[in-house]
Amino acid sequence: MSAVAAGSPSRPSLRKRLSARGLDATTLLVLPGIVVTLALFVYPFLYGVVDSLVPKQGPWFANYLKFFSEPFQYDTIFATLWLALPVTIINVLVAIPIAFRVRLMRRQRLLTTILVLPVTLGTVLVADGLLNYLGPRGWFNRTLMFLDLIDHPIRLTNNYWGVFASLIITGFPFAFLLTLSYVTGIDPAIEQAAATLGAKARQRFTRIFLPLLAPGLIVTFCLAFVQAFSVFPSAILLGAPSGPTRVIAIAAYQAAFEQYDHSMGAAIAIIMGLVQLVVILAVLSLRQVFYRGPAAGGKG
């Protein structure tokens, strides 16, 4: 008995103690993933934070001071919000009723496949297509003129509306598919129960579905907002990148790769992240207001 351990005989070996806490050879399989993420995500991120505090000249906060003292730079925050907020609100609000309809559809697959196209193809291709489609001689303007809605082509590219359209084309399917996955996760029996008890469609929506769906919708809003806020290629290709659609991503890119001031570029990237965080935290705080609990119902 005393041959087992040099220390206290009742104490199990280190190996056994570790495995009791869930650490054994299998746990070590986590290492490659952790190494990759630490080296390629966490380290560069922290490097960026430090880098932004070591400006080319001036005190440690010089980059941030420069950003917030030049209207050319800090206006990009408002330009981006002015694009991202309306687009996200429209996308999410329109996605809800449509997801509720599509949920009842028997053949959803065709529609969801069509809608996944712009998400998969990406903003660059959509921007290229919209340049032609929304252009003065494109099908969109021609159709409006054919229907006598306008008498001369309206300008929809190389301005705010071009970027707006591209964010709707790629953002709406994204918001819709996410909402759909949440809506189909709600047990239809709950709705049937409400209908049996005499709730009208509007009541069923506001009293049953909306509270159940609220957390999912908030997540959808956040993810859709993050996507819209980081708009980059389409703001250059379809917008006016030196004017009203000079979004914050363009400012960060220009600082880092056109003026070769990586310190300033990192600072703007961090400001970009912080602004998003503020909006997301504001939206997430709404979450407290709503009901949280099982949406599946039935046997729990």
Partner: protein, 281 residues
């Protein structure tokens, strides 16, 4: 299904389908405009082009040097798929099977690259990669693309591995299977469907990943989508048909893999990331 047949609800239903139809029509219009333009001899101010031709594809192939671009694209994408598959599946296996201190933090760290927009972490990442001398090279692009790809595989695979009964592995051990044969003969066949879905999604996402590749690619390590961006950006230089021919090449490449991926996954999964498994009971 509960159906209300009042006038207001009929109008409401009509309005919803009208919006869907309008959106789909515009979306198909955008895509079709690219295809039609790439096949047109001359298309100015008419509904359809004056004539049809395929010579823009030959031009685009030569002008944009699509052969090397396509080769590089697939080399990068397959490198990302293989590495993220190896790293992601092993990590997901450990996270699914063991409960250890710090696991929640680890999952959170894996979640972050998928929630943050690529540009926020891409700029510092590109700076680090350029400082290390891999920026602008093939491996620089691969490393940058691994940042969202590895967590994606991990988060898709965790619920998939969790639903495989651990007793199967224990039974194999009881019957004397070594670690290698346990992996090759038991785990791999069980994991294959999930891995296939996860890796196809990584493939499609990497093909379309613009920001990270754009920030880290040099002249010889551009993927198709980045070349397309540069072509559209300098659109005065070349004929628009030629650019659109390249866009069609990009579209066909991506859609080919999308169609294969859709055999194994639901379209909502492309968007909903790992949440899909928990959202649908």
């Amino acid at each position: 299904m509960i159906r209300d047949n009042g006038l207001a609800s009929r109008l409401w239903r009509f309005a919803i389908w009208a919006i869907v139809a309008l959106f789909v029509l515009n979306l198909l219009g955008v895509i079709l405009a690219v295809v039609v333009n790439s096949l047109s001899t001359r298309w100015l101010g008419t509904w359809l082009p004056l004539g049809w031709t395929t010579h823009w594809y030959v031009d685009a192939w030569r002008e944009f040097q699509l052969t090397p671009v396509l080769i590089v694209t697939f080399e990068i994408v397959f490198a990302v798929v293989v590495i993220s598959g190896l790293v992601g599946v092993t990590t997901a296996y450990a996270l699914a099977r063991r409960d250890f201190p710090g696991k929640r933090l680890m999952v959170l760290i894996f979640l972050l690259p998928l929630l943050l927009p690529p540009l926020t972490y891409g700029i510092p990442l590109a700076t680090v990669l350029y400082r290390l001398g891999v920026g602008g090279t093939f491996w620089g692009v691969v490393l940058a693309n691994l940042v969202p790809a590895v967590p994606f595989v991990v988060l898709v695979m965790i619920p998939f591995i969790e639903q495989i009964d651990p007793r199967i592995e224990q039974a194999a051990r009881v019957f004397g299977a070594s670690t290698t044969s346990l992996f090759v003969r038991i785990l791999l066949p069980l994991l294959l469907p999930g891995m296939l879905a996860a890796l196809l999604l990584v493939l499609v996402r990497t093909l379309a990943m613009f920001e990270l590749t754009f920030l880290t690619a040099g002249p010889t390590s551009q993927t198709l989508v980045v070349s397309l961006y540069y072509a559209v950006f300098a659109s005065g230089v070349r004929a628009s048909q030629s650019i659109d021919a390249m866009a069609v090449v990009y579209m066909v490449t991506t859609l080919f893999w999308l169609v294969i991926a859709l055999q194994f996954v639901n379209p909502t999964q492309i968007v909903a990331r790992s949440r899909q498994q928990t959202a649908n009971p």
